[in-house]
């Protein structure tokens, strides 16, 4: 039987302007909050490689090649990729997808914004 999801307060939108990120504790977990062009995303602050503090890493785009780039070398996902500060493993924040290893996918958490700008993460 699955547990009922619960909402946890994680600050305000005013403290997380577009392009910024922050690590918060919620529901016994450490999560990274990222404001990407006004939408707030949350992923675990834990790199599955050597358990590094993933969400304290820098955010950028990345270079890639494949069906999603029309088989052209391309700079994609601007402001949507976090790079683990320990060993530079990259993750696409909105989907939790590890860029190098497609089979590795982080859990993503819904972040709700109230009318007054309060942020809650659903766990």
């Amino acid at each position: 039987m699955s547990r009922e999801p619960s909402e946890h307060a994680v600050g305000t939108l005013a403290d997380l302007p577009p392009g910024s990120s922050r690590v918060v504790r919620a529901g016994g977990r450490e999560l990274g909050l990222f404001n990407i062009r006004g939408k707030v995303h949350a992923i675990p602050n834990l790199c599955p490689h050597q358990r590094g503090p993933l969400c304290t890493g820098g955010v950028s785009g990345t270079i890639d090649y494949g069906p999603h780039t029309g088989w052209q070398l391309a700079w994609i996902w601007e402001d949507e990729v976090v790079t683990c500060p320990w060993h530079s493993l990259e993750f696409h924040i909105p989907t939790g997808r590890c860029v190098a290893f497609e089979d590795i996918r982080l859990r993503t958490y819904e972040v709700r914004v109230s009318d007054s700008g309060e942020l809650t993460v659903v766990i």
Binding site: Q50, R51, T56, G57, G58, S60, P85, W86, H87
Partner: protein, 374 residues
């Protein structure tokens, strides 16, 4: 059925990283050129003050470790500071890694073998060794030093060993391998090995990524750091190990400890088997060797970092079995560099508790002659 408490009697409590004796055989201090200038002999102090005016980049400094950087600078990448500039900061950071004792190697002087002016190379090594003793080792007993040897002048290197060997905080001599013009098997280094053997200091060979016109660093046809970094470190170790076996270093210096650092260990069984095969046919060329090359290789030590990460985790155990890693591998983190291994990660690999204790600390204690706490 026996009562529960008797079932547990005699069994060790579950070992944690916190309770384990951990020696980190390779961490890096940042040698600020302005600080080195304070310890350098004239005229090198003047040059070091001039170098200090240039903004530093990661392992990239004029005259000491200049890097022809062709890596394409895409935005992003690791934002972690990768230098440690004081013993207090190092101790704090190593506490987080649960490291009890660490052996310090330099940052920029990883490229010392490529310094072209031999006088400057000697000046740098001397300044560094005095600086490390004064600014680091005497302040923190759990941080131990490696005496930097300038390969450009083995006599001066031997003198550095003799000068510092009485300092109990110096536990080995560091032989730079990157861009080394003459491999360490050559008899020109005999004074270094003589001094090391006589004083009881083992030697540790340590490389760094480089593209340079000596074997095995002529890597300019590769496009990526992935290629260069994959090849440079292990091939540098293979080249020096083969050179040292070919001239019989472990026979000529039977009490000399030798370690090979920062190349992982996957190369060890490969070259051991290759050399053993050749030895069958070509023993006459290496008459000093009384036994298979692999026999001598089992007397050497090997830093674990960057430890292989096979997809099947138990393969790491098989790999270590192939070169007696149980008794020859020394945990190394390479903190704070880009490809450091976290203690927790290596601790968590599926070695038996007894093997893990050796790899995480006891083998290094044997190699560096450290007292293991009871």
């Amino acid at each position: 059925m026996a009562p529960a408490e008797s079932l547990d009697a005699g069994l060790p409590t579950r070992e944690t990283l916190e309770s384990l004796y951990v020696v980190d055989a390779d961490v890096h201090v940042h040698e600020d050129p302005a600080e080195l200038a304070e310890y350098a002999e004239p005229p090198w102090d003047v040059a070091l003050r001039e170098i200090a005016k240039v903004e530093e980049r990661y392992l990239d400094l004029p005259a000491i470790s200049p890097r022809a950087e062709f890596r394409i600078p895409w935005p992003g990448g690791s934002n972690r500071p990768q230098t440690v500039t004081s013993p207090a900061a190092m101790r704090r950071e190593l506490d987080q890694l649960h490291v009890d004792v660490a052996v310090l190697f330099p940052d920029h002087l990883l490229s010392l073998a490529m310094v072209r002016d031999p006088g400057f190379a000697v000046g740098l090594a001397r300044a560094y060794n005095d600086w490390l003793a004064d600014r680091w080792l005497r302040h923190e007993p759990t941080l131990l030093g490696s005496v930097v040897i300038p390969p450009q002048n083995p006599a001066a290197g031997a003198a550095e060993i003799r000068k510092h060997a009485d300092n109990p905080s110096y536990v080995c001599a560091y032989l730079p391998a990157s861009g080394l013009k003459t491999l360490y098997g050559h008899e020109q280094y005999d004074p270094v090995f003589d001094a090391a053997q006589e004083t009881g200091l083992p030697v540790a060979i340590h490389s760094v990524e480089a593209v340079y016109p000596v074997f095995p660093f002529q890597l300019e046809q590769f496009r990526t750091a992935l290629a260069v970094h994959s090849l440079a470190h292990p091939l540098a170790m293979v080249a020096n190990l083969v050179s040292m076996l070919e001239t019989g270093v472990p026979v000529r210096f039977p009490d000399l400890g030798v370690a090979f650092m920062e190349a992982g260990t996957g190369w060890v069984p490969w070259i051991a088997n290759r050399l053993d095969k050749e030895y069958v046919e070509r023993r006459r060329e290496v008459p000093l060797l009384q036994e298979r090359p692999s026999t001598y290789m089992r007397r050497f030590f090997y830093g674990t970092q960057p430890i292989e990460e096979p997809q099947t985790r138990t393969d790491i155990v098989k790999l270590f079995e192939l070169f007696d890693g149980e008794n020859t591998a020394m945990f190394a983190s390479d903190w704070p560099h880009h490809d450091f291994d976290h203690t927790q990660f290596v601790f968590g690999l599926p070695f038996s508790p007894a093997v893990r204790r050796k790899i995480m600390g006891l083998n290094a204690a044997r190699f560096f002659d450290l007292d293991v706490p009871a």
